[in-house]
């Protein structure tokens, strides 16, 4: 009996100790979502990496103050696989962990999947989609990481024409919303610059693009644009285009991922003449410092290439909004605080809240962006293009 009592006392002491420890600890969970496997993995890893860096920065100064306590931010990643169902399942998985703030997802299918589910779960989320409905007034908890081609395609085409004059372009992309929405806008902007366009689509999951390449070449275009094809797919397309004898420039009025494209295609010499869009001005040394910051705070090399740089301002704004709202659970309050924040980033400089004109809701971050050029197998760097308000 004595032993039994002693055991009970010990158990009680352990339980009380655990409760006290729990009361002292304060942790904020923030979700990070995007494709972390497959051809678009680089974009999802960039999203997760940006969230981790933003969290590490605030944790380094003691965390975010909520209710008089400093709380450590923990990032919970989720692989939404660049699919609508993956993103919807991710939002529900986060809700089951009481996570109300999500950095991500990335693409249009994911944005389509997460919007209604996150709205139902009262979760604030970002997306980097180029879909025509990436933002909608009926989903006020959704924010946009960077503008879509409707904003930057025209100035980009004008910049590219200085290096690669062209009369015709063939655009190729997946046949889902992520591809068709972007190609429609890109094609419209090319035509506005007096360039003839043809469009070609493929089923997502295609591994061998030789038949698509045959169709692309049949149109005899001056330039081929891989638009929003995931970097892994774009790399194979570039490789097979060059094998088929296409010698013209290949471009990309779509997401970043040039490192992955170079790796899959077989080297920068294979790309030869290439141009691409960067969500931020990656040639700016201040922007490039982000990699050193990542190593300093997280003790490892960043993964995700320049897309991580582009996602970082959104992740940092999220931390600021949580701090300003004084809650990590009330997404409506966090969204209200977010809208009032000035668009400033230590690495990107000054930006704007845009999107009002295009989507009817000004919840899109717009910082200076970049246009990269590779000419004769030499990387000529990324030209900075200034951001403008709506």
């Amino acid at each position: 009996m004595k032993m039994h009592t002693t055991t009970l006392m010990a158990a009680l002491a352990v339980a009380l100790g655990a409760t006290a420890a729990h009361a002292q600890s304060c942790e904020i969970k923030v979700g990070a979502m995007g494709p972390m496997s497959g051809g678009a993995a680089q974009w999802g890893l960039a999203m997760s990496g940006a969230a981790e860096l933003a969290a590490a920065e605030v944790n380094a100064v003691g965390g975010i103050e909520i209710g008089g306590k400093k709380c450590k931010v923990v990032i919970v990643p989720y692989d939404s696989k660049y699919t609508a169902d993956g993103a919807a399942a991710g939002a529900n998985a986060f809700a089951s962990q009481d996570i109300h703030v999500i950095v991500g997802p990335v693409g249009s299918p994911e944005a389509t999947g997460i919007k209604p589910v996150a709205a139902r779960n009262q979760q604030l989320a970002w997306n980097a989609a180029y879909a025509k409905n990436a933002l909608e007034p009926k989903f006020p908890l959704m924010f946009h990481i960077a503008p879509a081609p409707a904003v930057w395609a025209d100035p980009m085409i004008k910049q590219v024409l200085k290096t690669f004059p062209m009369k015709s372009v063939a655009l190729v992309a997946p046949n889902d919303q992520a591809g068709t929405d972007i190609v429609a806008v890109d094609a419209e902007k090319y035509r506005a610059n007096g360039i003839q366009t043809t469009e070609e689509y493929y089923q997502r999951g295609t591994t061998n693009f030789a038949p698509i390449v045959t169709r692309l070449l049949a149109a005899k275009p001056d330039v081929i644009d891989t638009a929003s094809s995931p970097p892994g797919d774009a790399g194979v397309i570039v490789k097979q285009l060059r094998l088929a004898g296409f010698a013209g420039p290949i471009g990309r009025l779509g997401g970043p991922g040039t490192e992955e494209i170079i790796r899959v295609a077989g080297g920068i010499d294979v790309l030869k003449d290439f141009f691409w869009y960067e969500t931020v001005a990656t040639g700016d040394p201040k922007v490039q410092e982000i990699d050193a910051l990542y190593r300093k705070f997280l003790g490892k090399d960043p993964v995700g290439g320049t897309a991580l740089w582009g996602n970082l301002p959104a992740a940092r704004m999220t931390m600021k909004a949580i701090a300003a709202a004084g809650t990590a659970e009330d997404a409506v309050k966090i969204a209200e605080a977010m809208r009032k924040l000035p668009v400033e980033d230590p690495n990107m400089g000054k930006g704007y809240w845009t999107g009002g004109k295009q989507y009817g809701i000004a919840q899109e971050l717009h910082f200076p962006f970049g246009v990269g050029i590779i000419k004769d197998g030499k990387n000529l760097g990324v030209t900075r293009m200034e951001a403008h308000p709506d």
Partner: protein, 288 residues
Amino acid sequence: MEQFLQATIIGVSLGTQYALLALGFTLIFGILGVVNFSHGGFYMLGGYVAYACVAHAGLPYPLAVLVAILATGALGWVFELLLIERLVDDHLATLMLTLGLYLVMSTAMLEIFGPLSMDFRFPVTGALRAGPIYAPLENLVVLGVCLIAILGLWLILFRTDLGRALRALADDRSVAMAQGLRPKILFPAAFALATGLAGLTGALVTPILSLSPGVADPVLATSFLTVILGGLGSLGGAALAAFIVGIVEAYSSVYFGGSIGALVLFVLVLLLLVFRPQGLLGREIRGA
């Protein structure tokens, strides 16, 4: 005409790769009665083993391909011997086991090599050209190796005692066992042969296309589609269907585009399932 010839070259090239994959897939089903959901995983593993041998061990590519065949064959052997063998007649259990193995393999590759594509290049580059028609040299090399492998498999199955034993087990296991054939030796051998073929295909094809943990999914889908078309368990049917799938995929994608091209294949399989459910060369096991 140019497009027709180019599509034919692409179709034959695709068909050969599909044949190697489908033969392994159908070999396992025909002999063991197991639907191997890890088949795409062995393709992926073959690619990664060859990549590791070239990039990290500094082996020449042909030797790396050989190591990939042996490694995937050995893993298939061990997997069959230790796990499948115990539950070989339980279709649901073997389905879950092979699916589980695939998840373990893809997660392991994700952890070891990361999610991004590897810088894995085929040692031969360039193309044979005749005007606008071209045939990539790397595809020709793969075509040659695949045809040799298919011939080798045919010789093993139809000209050796091992092949006769395997075919006997596929025809009627209980009668074959009564004749003294030992499934405990022959089943792992069949499994190893099939996974080695998948590993060979992965080692040959991934440097031409791309190598990342996600490459296995479409492979499994194509293998499944091919063997259903050819008739589950039929080696001749799988080979015939692989070339049909390759040619149809190439022609339909070239003439109708990537979206309709993918649809045409599924419509073809759907029609076949309606009018000839046992597949092109499959046997009818049970009447409707």
